[in-house]
Amino acid sequence: MNVTLNWLKNYIDFEFSADELADRLTMLGVEVESVKQLGVALEGIVVGKVNSISPHPNADKLVLCQVDIGEQDALQIVCGAPNVSERMSVPVATIGTELSSGITIKQAKLRGEESYGMLCSERELGISEDAAGLMELSSDTSVGTPLAEALGLDDTVFELEITPNRPDCLSLIGVAREIRAETGNELKLPEVNIRENDTDIREVTSVTIDAPDLCPRYAARVIRGVKIGESPAWLKQRLESVGIGVINNIVDVTNFVLMEYGQPLHAFDYHKLGENRIVVRRAAEGEQITTLDEEERELTSDMLVIADANKPVALAGVMGGYDSEITDETCDVLLESANFQPASIRATGKKLGMHTEASYRFERGVDPEAVIPALNRAAQLIVELAGGTVCEGIIDVYPGKSEPIQIQLRSDRVNFILGTALEATEIEQILYRLGFGMEASQLEDSSYQVTVPSFRSDITREIDLIEEVARVYGYDNIPTTLPKGDIPVPVSDISVEVRKHIKQFLLGAGMMESVNYSFSHPNCFDKVRLAADNPLRDALKLRNPLSPEMSILRTTLMPSLLDNAQHNHNHQINNIALFEMSTVFVKGEEPWRIAGILAGEIGGGVYGDPYKNPDFFDIKGIVERVLEVCCLTDYAFKKTEEPTFHPGRNAAVLLGDRRIGILGEVHPEVLEIYELPYKAYLFELDLEALANAADFSKRFEPIPIYPSVQRDLAIVVDKEMQSDTPIDIIYSTGGELVDSVRLFDVYVGDQVSEGKKSLAYTITYHSATETLTDKDVNNLHDKVVKRLNQELGAELRL
């Protein structure tokens, strides 16, 4: 909502500059979003009067004007406007003025004649597009007056953001009340004196409320013999300064009073109302009305309408009807000032997609006690501006009248909540200035019985009053202290630890962290070739997605990482090493997952550290390290049939018997779908499972004191044999004396026969209790070789 500085000053005195006022209001909770000085473009332009005109000696289309701008000598100005005439009041751009077009006015010779300024058209002033002739000013404005002042544009507009709990601030008087709280100055409310005619309003109309639950109050006045016309300049200027369009004197008055009091009003053409009367009722299902915007609207039975004897004539609190609107022919007016239930207006507005100045206020709640002052104020202004007389009396149907709310306020509670040391009198003073009735409580010391004014429907509890005290006292004046209470005993969370450790490792391993939306496209499962019966396909769906790409909640992180790879590849970035750590949405739970992708080129890509293409063992190594980071050793890998992956290059990650994740080379068909021209490697692990198994309770193990002995062993086995099969046998044969087995070479080729391969291991023998002799080691090693031969048919390769 917009208000202006000068307009506000009609309702309260204050000395603040525009910026000060903006700051004060903001710190009171009435946030000023912007401060705009009107008329800045008109600086240097003054009102002048053309005293005399003489022909230009050298040009037919130009004349020489002697223009009085209130200085000692009249200025000679050369002018070519067709409408220039003697005694005309016009805007004069003086020497040095910069027009909104960017032109600076200089003293100049025009076809040989001196010119000391410029007479301006509206377009030249940036006021309108009218360039037909000079802007003609009303002849009573005194010469020399700055044009901005003459046009009422020497004002400042504040754009306010009013929070939903403060509908009382949606008016000039409402904002003035806030200034009153700040300054203590009294309000200057408009004085209203209505001279009524002899006709009793009850003889000419009636109001019936059939839906008192939706319409707590409806008041009306009738004004006869008005003459519809243009509003005076001051009124137009006021409305335009706050961004309200000008229509005619009657409608402009209702809008003006709306801005003043925050009370929406509506003027009906009295003679267009069937039986000249008002019925406030729910619409019949399917009933129709054409609203002021000339839209035909179909109504439902939960909507409140203002009807005449036969049909709806307005959508209550939202918009008037087209058929009963004020036209140039209107002579008698029925003026409505009413109060409607917020939820009903909100529902109607929402259903019909209509948002108006009226509905904006009724949705939030309007003071029912503003109905009569606003009605009277409008009636008086109409008579002043459009003539006519006001019928005697007001029809005021008020089924929703309620007693003012009373709240008990303990002043020590104020200090307890705020951490302040306010005196009871300070509290009393603040609330008094806000319009609250204050009475010392009979029940308790330093307590008050507070009466809430009708415009503050948001205040119903003691805490609401405490907030009022706080904001007027000033949040900045409340002390700044640190909490005194005990710090609760922290609970450690292993899953947080696990995530932290893994992330640290992955970053150290050169992977970049990616964060993706939780949303996905339902086709993402097909894109990664998930089996038809894969439970991951069972994703939660959004009812109101932004787009199909964002219509389900992801159950796996792998499609997101493939999307990231695709995005980067499309932008010629091919060193893809990304991981994401996030929750996914499966079976009503939100377990954490960690996933990573390697694709394209890894390495520095420089001389001495060339790019290399990642392979299966890069991704496997990363996963192995992740498991080690969680202090897990009891893991294994097992081939799977997952269609996402290359059938021969993937593995399930097992922890004991439990499958906790998967890794592998992405299937070529998936790569094709994601338009990746190179291989990609993915892993995804269940972080919950890792956290459950992880054990960070580290314990010292003695450093070996006896030397260890290493023996290399190269064996020839069937090509299909997994490299860990011999390792199991080596361990089971050597028992505790085998410290470690490390595979250091795999060979397939001419040196071994077809269908075979050679595996070379380094075995480290070690005893914790003695130094192993060569003889001990040889015996053990021979045993190992023998068992490998017996059980696997392994031949020693010499």
Binding site: I466, P483, K484, G485, L507, M512, V515, Y517, H567
Partner: protein, 338 residues
């Protein structure tokens, strides 16, 4: 003989001067000290000397031998160090060739910011707690005192699932869940993802929030200010000013929005701060008594405060990314910048 020895010494010393390599030095050594060497030959001739002469010449011979040995050693050392020097010289590398940089990944900029926020509050005794992102209307709205016809509940604002649940619009429901399960004192922060139907340069449909909650027997608004000022100084620098403006949230009262002095102009006013010198960073307030009642806390026995901030917004105060949707494209050229 004496003359002979002296001549040998002189020629040997002269010859040494010209030696350039250890190989030449070795052959020269053999020439003098070898089995057929010049010096050896002279020594062999000692037997023919008279008894009187023998000790004198013997002494001289030893002196010559010792001095030559020393001269040979010195030459050897000199040659060796010269040679090493040459070798080192030959081994010089072009130090402008690229270093072999160990791989090094970077955390996502939003996560970096989130982690910093977490660290600051953890150090002030706040426990990090998380909760579900798929929520019920009860926890997301009702329990937080949001009216049933509040516009935030609209399909235009909140993502609903086909099963009737919704995606939490803030991390506040976790506060309710914690209070339902824990007696005061409560001192938690809740980091996590939240969702709203919004998609433009300054909004993403998924975003990150950190909310905080402190409930105890006597928690004041002044302590809310203290905690947040302390946070702001640690997050944005010691010089940071903070101001609190009255605002409205359904679940706090009194409510505030907090601004920090503009990080660009330091409060003088610039385009980033709309010429106000202030930048809004978070919402906060004393916990509304209705919220306490909803979790069976007695508002006469406990008080508290809550605050919430958008992580992307805070991250962007530093990074100044014109379109925050860039955060979630995961373009490596972008991620590498932080």
């Amino acid at each position: 003989m004496k003359a002979e020895l002296e001549a040998i010494q002189a020629t040997a010393l002269e010859a040494l001067k010209d030696v350039k390599t250890t190989d030449v030095l070795e052959s020269l050594r053999i020439e003098y000290f070898g089995r057929r060497g010049k010096l050896t030959d002279v020594m062999k001739g000692m037997g023919q000397l008279s008894k009187e002469e023998r000790p004198i010449i013997g002494k001289l011979a030893n002196e010559v031998r010792a001095s030559l040995t020393e001269a040979f050693e010195a030459t050897k050392t000199a040659l060796e160090s010269q040679q090493q020097e040459q070798q080192l010289h030959a081994e010089a590398v072009d130090i402008t060739l690229p270093g072999r940089k160990p791989a090094y990944g970077k955390a996502h900029p939003v996560m970096q910011t989130l982690e910093r926020i977490e660290a600051i509050f953890t150090q002030m005794g706040f426990q990090v707690v998380t909760g579900p992102e798929v929520e019920t209307e009860h926890y997301n709205f009702d329990a937080l005192n949001t009216p049933s016809d509040h516009p935030a509940r609209d399909l235009h604002d909140t993502f609903y699932l086909t099963d009737g649940h919704l995606l939490r619009t803030h991390t506040s429901p976790v506060q309710i869940r914690v209070m339902e399960n824990q007696k005061p004192p409560v001192r938690i922060i809740v980091p996590g993802k939240a969702y709203r139907v919004d998609y433009d340069v300054s909004h993403t449909p998924m975003f990150h929030q950190v909310e905080g909650l402190l409930v105890d027997r006597h928690v004041t608004f002044s302590e809310l200010k203290g905690v947040l000022v302390s946070f702001a100084r640690q997050m944005f620098g010691d010089q940071t000013q903070m101001r609190f403006r009255p605002h409205f949230f359904p679940f706090t009262e009194p409510s505030a929005e907090a601004d920090i002095s503009c990080t660009v102009c330091r409060g003088k006013g610039c385009r980033s701060c709309g010429h106000t010198g202030w930048i809004e960073i978070l919402g906060a307030g004393a916990v509304d008594p209705e919220v306490f009642r909803a979790v069976n806390y007695n508002p006469e026995e406990v008080t508290g405060f809550a605050f919430g901030m958008g992580v992307e917004r805070i991250a962007n105060l530093q990074f100044r990314i014109p379109d925050i949707r860039t955060f979630y494209e995961n373009d490596l050229r972008f991620l590498q910048q932080f």
